[in-house]
């Protein structure tokens, strides 16, 4: 039934995952990104390349897979023309820009605070 619960609403998934006291700190943002799968995001890399796309999947290293990508800034990166899906290594990501209405900042703050308290203990 745990599986059924997860299938219902994405926000419910996030609630279940983040309010679980046993979530380890490295997994917090992994769970957070998992709840954003399917949303449109803009990933800015450390080489100043910005890529807009739909979040397809994320892994424990926060590697990101995007589908339907487009280079947002002026296309001084011509080699990306025929690329539709891409895999971005987590270590080269500078920012992940998300629409504000897709993120429950209160929930995230609470979960992070809980994690910080757990870490102290």
């Amino acid at each position: 039934e745990c599986f059924k619960k997860k299938k219902k609403q994405p926000t419910a998934t996030l609630t279940v995952q983040l309010t679980l006291a046993c979530v380890s700190a490295p997994q917090l943002f992994y769970s957070f990104f998992k709840s954003l799968v399917g949303k449109d995001v803009v990933v800015e890399l450390k080489n100043d390349l910005s890529i807009c796309g739909t979040l397809h999947s994320v892994d424990q290293y926060l590697n990101i897979k995007l589908t339907d990508i487009s280079v947002t800034d002026p296309e001084k990166y011509p080699h990306m023309l025929s690329v539709k899906n891409c895999f971005i290594r987590g270590s080269v990501v500078r920012y992940v820009q998300l629409p504000a209405d897709e993120v429950d900042t209160q929930l995230l703050q609470d979960a992070a605070r809980k994690e910080a308290m757990q870490q102290k203990q």
């Binding site: 011509p78 539709k84 895999f87 290594r89």
Partner: protein
Amino acid sequence: MDKVCCCLEVDTHVIVTGVMSLYAHKKQQQHKMNYVPGTASLIDDIDKKHLVLLRDGRTLIGYLRSIDQFANLVFHQTVERIHVGKKFGDIPRGIFIVRGENVVLLGEIDMDKPCDTVLQQVSIEEILEEQRLQQQAKQETEKVKMQVLKDRGLSIPKADNLDEY
């Protein structure tokens, strides 16, 4: 009767679970890595033509043959593509093994999408020449910038990483 039914139920339940776990186990064996829905995996990208951007600024295009958990990649029929302005040139490289830490981005090349609309392919010598000129121009501007800063008593310490992307 009840007991038998129960037993059957219990048995069927066990059998079902058994089959499920066997199926799950088989599925796991099919994929080299554990598959959890929603996890970013390069498994489905194998044997497809990909473009990889490296930390030193190079672009490699080839067929992805092998992967591991560090994103180390094995490329087949690799071509190094050099872009200068609107021109590009391809240098055939054969088989490449890329260490995962040097990978910036890995993109699947869509064969259907036409890509030569704005770009003009030139010969290897020409593109290498263009690249050399571009590097030269860049070094000139850097020199001028450093000089201007020096005149004002400022200095930007050189970045101690080798990333040139």
